[in-house]
Amino acid sequence: MQHGKYRFIVGFLALPLLIYGVFVISPFVQAFQISMTDWSGLVGTAEFIGLDNFAKLWESDEFWNALRHNVYMLALVPLVTLALGLFFAFMLNVGGRRRKNEVVTGVAGSRFYKFVFFFPQVISITIIAVIWFNIYNPDPDDGMLNSLLGAFGLDALQNSWLGEKSLALWCISAVMVWGHVGFYVVLFSAAMASIPRDIYEAALLDGASRFHTFFRITLPLLWDTVQTGWVYMGIIALDAFALVQIMSVNMGGPDGATDVMPLRLYLTAFRDSQFGYAAAMGVAMLIVTMTFAVLTMRFARRERIEY
């Protein structure tokens, strides 16, 4: 069955590899090249300037400001999102009342809950941004959140949200959490469903409370999935471009309070035409992302439990 094997292999691989090479691999390589030039976009005018762009980046308060915001989100958003995701998934799978013959059951309607929770995951980030822009409307009577707080007599909590320098970044982080919790509920539910029921039953018979079973059984057995989820969510927290671009006051405001690395890169490249400098930001983002992923994998590693 060797006849035409290599012709077939080449025929099937050539086009996918060509497209992938031209539009993904070659830009990846070029990004490093461009980052060492002062290119402004005109053909043939790029001047090699070594690591000057990186030196400039190191000195740039604007970039550090943006990076700091990404790091804040990196510290908070995955933690909150995964904690809520785990909590809801546990509720869905183990929170149900006792039925005949079954000690551990999920709550009724778990499919419905998953349908709703997961929904933000399938709609466009621009739609999510527009919705939350309206929720955070600063007007005390017209804003959705503010008027809701007013209706409950919580006028003291009313705020200008995205217009408030100390709050704006956290308002945007909350939207990220809101949008991604459902993904982790579904992910962790699938992983929890594969844990044998008798482990829970044995623990419950031995007198463990359900909260103990969560920390002693569920969490250790899900650790691999949690770790992967952490990396996924961290990469999302290192982005935040679309939300900031559409929701924040004056793109990254008020007064730079919500600026993030990808927004810096985008404006530097496509508004200011400093492509060399922007490419250096891209390389810096790659380094930050890789460092985060490697550190997470390294420090979160636990002995794998087979079951």
Binding site: L17, F28, R97, G109, F119, I131, D239, M285
Partner: protein, 309 residues
């Protein structure tokens, strides 16, 4: 609220007469712990379901209100159904054009991704040849590249494309979408083809079918469940894509839906037609909503497949 009421609110509890389930368990301490937990879990789950569901429903009911109503009374239900919002969105706000643009681009790129991705994956999964591992890892590595780092060089790859510029063209965007969907598609489909039995393909070959024919007539039908999952994954990802068109498709008559919506939203102001914006968001969401409602299980398992491995 009692549990029964909460279940009624979520309209999900299988229709069982109230109290029956409660009588099933003996009244020991353990059961009451389960009962308390059950009320508690439902309470919390309902709160989160409302937090997620209400903003989405708000878009639906706002799509029938006039701009003034949306701005001054965001929580109010529409008093008169303003159907004209939908026509305004489709015609005046150009959502119709953006919808067609998106459909053309995503239609082309989903088909292209599926065909090219499964071809490459099949060869990588089933044939041994020098460089197989290298090519596989080359594809898989693409999953970890931050797209932001690539957009600047990518912009110039398209601008300076031999022949004519690919910026703001359907085929340019289609090629880029295919290229950026290949890593996960190849990764997923390679794993899938490896799980399929080899005997059927071998039988077909013995009967004289060529490799190509074996692939299209034997392997592709066998791989249908995997193709559906990854197809939905790619459809959703490409339909909602925002960054790539923003950079590579900066010409208003070629805008896709996400760009059109962002443009309207960024021109915020009271002269804006908010009713049309809400109707436009519904128009953009509708295909996704349909796919998600029909294929809930496949969508959820498809989108989480990458993280579960």
């Amino acid at each position: 609220m009692t549990t029964e009421e909460i279940e009624a609110v979520t309209k999900q509890g299988p229709a069982k007469p109230a109290g029956v389930t409660r009588r099933l368990g003996p009244t020991t301490g353990r059961t009451s712990e389960g009962g308390v937990l059950n009320v508690f879990s439902h309470g919390i789950l309902v709160v989160w379901a409302l937090m997620v569901g209400v903003p989405l429903l708000w878009v639906l009911w706002s799509a029938f209100k006039d701009s003034n109503g949306i701005l001054t009374d965001p929580w109010g239900l529409p008093t008169v159904l303003h159907w004209e919002n939908w026509a305004n969105a489709w015609n005046d706000a150009n959502m119709g054009r953006y919808f067609v643009n998106t459909a053309v681009v995503v239609g082309g790129s989903v088909v292209g991704t599926m065909v090219l991705g499964s071809m490459a994956a099949y060869v990588l999964a089933r044939f041994t040849f020098p460089g197989n591992r290298f090519i596989y890892y080359l594809f898989v590595a693409g999953m970890s590249f931050p797209v932001f780092m690539l957009v600047i060089p990518l912009f110039f790859v398209l601008r300076d494309f031999p022949g004519s510029s690919l910026l703001a063209t359907y085929h340019g965007l289609i090629l880029v979408y295919i290229a950026y969907s290949l890593p996960f598609t190849v990764f997923f489909m390679t794993a899938f083809f490896r799980t399929l039995p080899t005997s059927v393909a071998e039988a077909a070959m013995i009967d004289g079918a060529s490799h190509t024919r074996t692939f299209f007539q034997v392997m592709v039908p066998m791989a249908k469940p995997g193709l559906i999952s990854i197809g939905i994954f790619n459809f959703l990802g490409q339909w909602n894509q925002y960054l790539l068109p923003m950079v590579l498709n900066q010409q208003e008559d070629k805008y896709v839906l996400t760009q059109g919506l962002a443009m309207i939203a960024l021109q915020q102001g009271y002269e804006n037609d908010w009713g049309a914006l809400m109707a436009g968001m519904m128009i953009a969401m509708l295909p996704v909503l349909i796919v998600y409602s029909i294929f809930q299980r496949q969508v959820q398992s498809g989108l989480t497949a990458g993280a579960l491995k």
